[in-house]
């Protein structure tokens, strides 16, 4: 009993999220019954959430250092478009299957390299030049999306090898491949952020850049690593999207940016920096996916209402967090 109590006290945020998760789960089950509790629903949820889950983790990295990365979706799309171009140029119809897989692997590698460059650019603008993250990444978002638009002339790129979509849409022992990718990336993110010197330093940087300097940390390097991490996770999301849609376009996943911010903040990452953890973001991803699937089950709630729902929810969560923080501050003062 005591160990449970301790665990609850240690991570109040995670406990709160798990309670919300259970509440949402019960609510969805009560309201939609067998439609919600069905293998097919769980399978489709399992295919959907990894891509924006990865984008949310990418977002969480940057909120963690009191920044923000508005270019996550743009990087995902740019990587997907580049991969689609690359694969459609190099793969000829009668190529052997193993060669195709090698090409796909090469395309993934290229996507990761491009994302590292994109992230490094963000980190450079923020860490070296000193531009506010929100403006720097707003600029690079337009820049990266712009490149993708020019490359595609604004149209959808198809003609991908069927092996790519087959792999992404398949499952290993019934577990969809996107989930496996998500779990691997999320585990790495959680480990780096909460256990390693890098994660510790990023948390400190997010709390106070000045004190971080006086501790002898290289803030520029930390900012660049931070935004590179964010970009690489975005690229992983882009790869999943490419396989799932079996096509690439400059403006896929337009609603994901908003959702990524919502999930990161709901997951307990403090937009003022220095607080939060990846486990919270993971639970929040699943909560948002459940709400999203549940809303889909109402035919009279059109997709056009989504913006209102997510926007409203984000503002609600921000207000809620503000209230909770104020209360904790008062309690800390009294103690």
């Amino acid at each position: 009993m005591d160990t449970i109590k301790n665990a609850i006290n240690r991570d109040k945020n995670l406990t709160r999220l798990l309670v919300v998760f259970l509440m949402v789960f019960v609510l969805c089950t009560v309201l939609k019954g067998s439609m919600f509790i069905s293998v097919s629903n769980f399978q489709s949820m399992g295919k959907q959430f990894p891509e924006f889950g990865l984008l949310s983790i990418a977002m969480a990295f940057t909120l963690f250092t009191a920044g923000i990365d508005l270019s996550v979706v743009a990087i995902a799309n740019l990587c997907a478009v580049l991969m689609a171009k690359f694969l459609s140029l190099l793969i000829v119809p009668d190529m052997g299957s193993s060669t195709v897989f090698m090409m796909i692997a090469a395309a993934c590698l290229m996507a990761i390299i491009v994302s590292i460059l994109c992230g490094a650019l963000n980190g450079f603008l923020i860490g070296v030049i000193g531009i506010t993250p929100i403006l720097a990444t707003l600029g690079t978002q337009a820049l990266f999306t712009g490149f993708a638009i020019v490359m595609t002339n604004g149209s959808t790129l198809g003609g991908l090898p069927k092996q790519l979509s087959a792999t992404i849409n398949s499952g290993i022992m019934g577990i969809p491949v996107p989930i496996i990718i998500f779990v691997v990336f999320a585990a790495i993110a959680a480990f780096v952020m909460s256990k390693t010197t890098l994660g510790y330093k990023l948390r400190m940087l997010g709390t106070s850049a000045k004190a971080s300097t006086f501790s002898g940390f290289d803030n520029v390097r930390l900012f660049i690593i931070n935004y590179v991490l964010s970009a690489v996770f975005s690229a992983a999301a882009g790869i999943i999207m490419l396989g799932r849609f079996n096509s690439a376009k400059a403006d896929y996943g337009a609603s994901y940016l908003m959702e990524a911010i919502l999930i990161a903040v709901l997951g307990g990452v403090d937009p003022y920096g220095g607080k939060g953890n990846i486990s919270g973001v993971i639970v929040a991803t699943i909560i948002v996916q459940m709400v999203s699937s549940w809303l889909n089950m109402y035919e009279d709630i059109s997709n056009f209402y989504r913006q209102i729902i997510w926007g409203g929810l984000l503002i609600f969560v921000l207000i809620y967090n503000y209230v909770v923080n104020e209360r904790e501050k008062r309690q800390a003062m009294k103690g």
Binding site: R203, T207, D218, G274, K275, G335
Partner: protein, 521 residues
């Protein structure tokens, strides 16, 4: 120590005294404020446990006590921001069970907080007049009307200033004058100043005291919160000292001396002794030759031996902070050489500074020294993370917790849990955390910039003793400070800086404070 002359207050004594007075003169009170048996709880924690505070009309009264003794709580109760849980407040003969800020202001009570509550981006005139304009609920402001208000305000204390200057361009001392003039606009009868001298220079303290005397001449009482005894002596007639939410002593300041004052504040006897440097044939640990930094300092040369504690003093802007920051690697020197243990070294980044065994306790611990919202354990262990991490970078949490517990004990840091944010600690304990972080490294030189600013007397002496002990063990320490007694007792040598130059290096043995003050100004 004679207790009789100092009237240590017991509740019974107070109760008796008050009964007599209550029967005596009802009509005209000699006191502007009489707070009796005030209790205040926060949650289950007692902040004030039946304290009394009485201030006569037109007197300068000093309230002293360590952090957390309830000073700020009583100020907030008198000014109506906190409601008291029990007790009474009598203002100018009228009793109040409860009071709100509006009533307090209407009764002529004004508080000047440490942050002064000014708008840095507005002009002096706007700062002075804005409250009145808002209070009159005007929709449009008139520059002419505002100027009149502002002129009247500064005239009250005969203070000359350009009304169109933006406040952020002014010194803290001048800002204080503005806050005082603003308080006077509301017909103040009692002005409460919360540690007004912590952030201003000696010269500014002098002019502040002149103004306090002027206020007194106008019949305004001043409650002066401070724990610097020399100031208390100079300005206050009577004093009240709190400790842990209780009255410890009150009386006339003429009956007080340094030892009693410290004893009342801390509850323990503190004896500080001069640091005697006894090492013979010690080697040079830090040597600086012709070091220069543009807009900082010029041609600075000195050498420090192992185990020395050397003070650097001089006015703000004398280049002392820049010199310290350059030795630590925050600035890269434009020219000159630095030698550590006889070897020439490059210190062009903080990383290099730390690698060369130099630690720096910054003057602003809140923004530069600590990560306030982060746990104590992370703040103390920060420089050791790499040593306690495996090849994947995973930090061994139990190890850093262990080292934190060790240093918390070593430095007697008062804390509940090492996972609490460091910002929940008192100033003195926060400063000890910064020290612990550096002591965990095997340093050669530790530079302390204003190590005891905003630190309680008790913690202050703890820090002095610790530094002396470390120096005895071979650490070389530089103390940058305005506090001349601090430099004189704790350093064996002192260097004086003036507009970027090192003008004098003296032994503190037999050095007179006034002589040092002369050199530093």
């Amino acid at each position: 120590m004679s207790a009789a002359s100092l009237l240590p207050i017991t509740s019974a004594a107070i109760a008796n005294k008050y009964c007599v007075e209550a029967r005596g003169g009802e009509e005209v009170s000699d006191y502007i404020i009489k707070a009796e048996n005030i209790k205040k709880y926060f949650g289950g924690v007692k902040a004030l446990d039946g304290v009394n505070l009485e201030i006569k009309k037109g007197e300068i009264h000093c309230l002293a006590g360590e952090n957390g003794c309830g000073k700020s709580t009583i100020i907030n109760i008198i000014s109506g921001f906190y409601t008291l849980d029990s007790g009474t407040i009598e203002i100018d003969g009228t009793k109040y069970e409860k009071m709100n800020p509006k009533q307090a202001i209407a009764n002529g009570i004004q508080v000047i907080y440490q942050d002064l509550s000014l708008f840095p981006n507005l002009t002096v005139m706007e700062n002075l007049a804005i409250n009145m304009e808002v209070a009159a609920s005007r929709k449009f402001v008139s520059k002419a009307r505002m100027r009149k208000i502002a002129e009247a305000a500064v005239a009250k204390i005969g203070f000359k200033i350009d009304l169109d200057e933006t406040v952020e361009n002014l010194t803290v001392g001048m800002r204080q004058m503005i806050a005082i003039s603003r308080a006077l606009l509301n017909d103040a009868k009692l002005i409460i100043m919360d540690e007004p001298t912590t952030a201003i220079t000696k010269r500014e303290v002098k002019s502040l005291f002149k103004i306090i005397k002027q206020l007194q001449a106008q019949g305004i009482a001043v409650l002066f919160v401070s724990h610097k005894l020399d100031e208390v002596f100079e300005i206050a007639e009577r004093f009240t000292i709190f400790r842990s939410g209780k009255n410890v002593a009150s009386g006339n300041t003429s009956e007080l001396d340094q030892n009693k004052f410290t004893y009342y504040m801390t509850g323990r006897e503190i004896i500080s002794s001069h640091y005697e440097y006894t090492r013979e044939n010690a080697q040079n640990v830090l040597e600086v030759k012709n070091l220069s930094l543009k807009n900082g300092f010029k041609d600075v040369s000195f050498s420090l031996k192992q185990g020395e504690i050397v003070g650097i003093t001089g006015l703000l802007g004398s280049g002392r902070t820049e010199l310290a920051e350059t030795l630590f690697g925050y600035h890269a020197a434009d020219s000159g050489e630095i030698f550590i243990e006889g070897k020439k070294v490059e210190i062009r980044s903080i990383k290099q500074g730390i690698e060369n065994g130099i630690g720096y306790l910054p003057s602003d611990r809140v923004t530069e020294g600590l990560f306030l919202s982060q746990p104590i354990v992370d703040n103390i262990s920060i420089e050791k993370w790499h040593d306690y991490a495996n090849c994947l970078g995973k930090i061994d949490r139990t190890q850093i917790e262990k080292m934190t517990e060790h240093w918390a004990k070593e430095l007697s840091i008062a804390l509940h849990n090492i996972e609490d944010p460091v910002g929940t600690l008192s100033g003195g304990n926060q400063q000890k955390c910064v020290l612990a972080k550096w002591l965990a490294l095997d340093l050669k030189v530790l530079i302390l910039n204003g190590p005891t600013v905003g630190v309680d007397i008790g913690a202050k002496f703890d820090i002095y003793e610790l530094v002396k002990r470390l120096a005895k063990h071979g650490l070389t320490v530089i103390i940058i400070s305005d506090d001349l007694p601090e430099v004189l007792t704790n350093c064996n040598r002192v260097m004086v800086m003036q507009s970027g130059r090192l003008v004098e290096t003296l032994s503190t043995q037999g050095l007179d404070e006034s002589r040092l003050a002369e050199l530093a100004n």
